[in-house]
């Protein structure tokens, strides 16, 4: 990397970290919303 390795690799690592975080957070958000929706369905039993 022509002496720049210590700048280039952390950049890629960080950006891929951000990509991974986005995926994880979005999946978790969706799963949690689903769980909450199921819970409120179970609680109310009937829709509006």
């Amino acid at each position: 990397m022509g002496g720049y390795a210590r700048f280039v690799w952390p950049c890629y690592a960080f950006v891929f970290g951000v990509l991974a975080w986005n995926l994880w957070a979005a999946a978790r958000y969706q799963a949690e919303a689903r769980k909450r929706a199921l819970r409120s369905l179970a609680m109310s039993g009937d829709e509006r």
Binding site: M1, G2, G3, Y4, A5, F7, V8, P10, C11, Y12, F14, V15, V18, L19, W21, N22, L23, A25, A26, A27, Y29, Q30, E32, A33, R34, R36, A37, L38, S40, L41, S44, E47, R48
Partner: protein, 244 residues
């Protein structure tokens, strides 16, 4: 005349479409980012001025672009929600904020890591990076404003309004920072992104742009499904959608 518009914005339609689109976006993103990363790191020739440090732009430039694109999406979707009272506008706006903020952070960090060898310091108050920092503040403001309201409906509309005010201000902020910078230092030493790149350098960059956009699309769809479920928890269609 507007029926297609409202049908497009109906929660079940959004929920289903987002679900269908996610894998396609994801696959496209994986291919494009994979190609861009490998080609950018291994096959693109080093820049004659910046050497191998220029390889940082393959991740920096798409992140920076995405940070602006996501903020615009946030504002436009918020405006749609505010003006036509379409809840899905607010849902998109809410879903896009954390994604955009994370890419703003990525652009800031990669920018300053690139700046270290170029300018000899991690933070040179470069106008682009400074604008990017202010953009991060704008994201934080919108997100905390939305979270501060107990009533999600009001939080949505308040955040939408702030988003619109912010998007009007982004160019003003950028140009004022450029003006300020021109006052304190002469021509900036080196700038990220040059015209007339050879193809072997350019193609990976374009692939990365495409890949990041697709990735954004995929993550947005996933978050959007969550937002829709949170907002429509009590409607009849949700029961069928999540119990099947």
């Amino acid at each position: 005349m507007w029926t297609w518009f409202y049908r497009l914005a109906s929660p079940p339609f959004v929920y289903r479409t987002a679900g269908t689109l996610t894998p396609w976006f994801m696959a496209a993103a994986a291919v494009a980012i994979g190609y861009g990363t490998i080609a950018g790191l291994l096959f693109a020739p080093p820049d004659y001025q910046q050497g191998d440090a220029f390889r940082i732009i393959y991740v920096h430039a798409p992140s920076a672009w995405l940070s602006l694109f996501a903020y615009t999406t946030l504002a436009v979707a918020g405006a749609i929600g505010l003006i036509w009272r379409i809840k899905m506008g607010h849902a998109v706006s809410a879903a896009t904020a954390p994604i955009g903020a994370s890419f703003t952070l990525a652009a800031l960090l990669t920018g300053s890591l690139w700046g270290r060898p170029m300018w000899g310091t991690y933070w040179a108050w470069d106008p682009r990076l400074t604008s990017e920092l202010i953009l991060l503040f704008l994201y934080v403001g919108v997100m905390s404003l939305r979270a501060a309201f107990d009533d999600p409906g009001r939080g949505d509309r308040a955040a939408a309004l702030l988003g619109i005010v912010g998007v009007v201000n982004v160019p003003i902020i950028h140009y004022s920072v450029v003006w300020w910078n021109s006052l304190h230092q002469g021509a900036t030493v080196a700038k990220i992104g040059k015209p007339a790149m050879p193809g072997s350098m350019l193609w990976p960059l374009l692939a990365m742009f495409l890949g990041f956009m697709c990735f954004y699309g995929a993550v947005l769809c996933m978050r959007l499904r969550g937002e829709v479920l949170n907002r429509e928890r009590q409607s009849a269609w949700v029961r069928e959608a999540i119990q099947s």
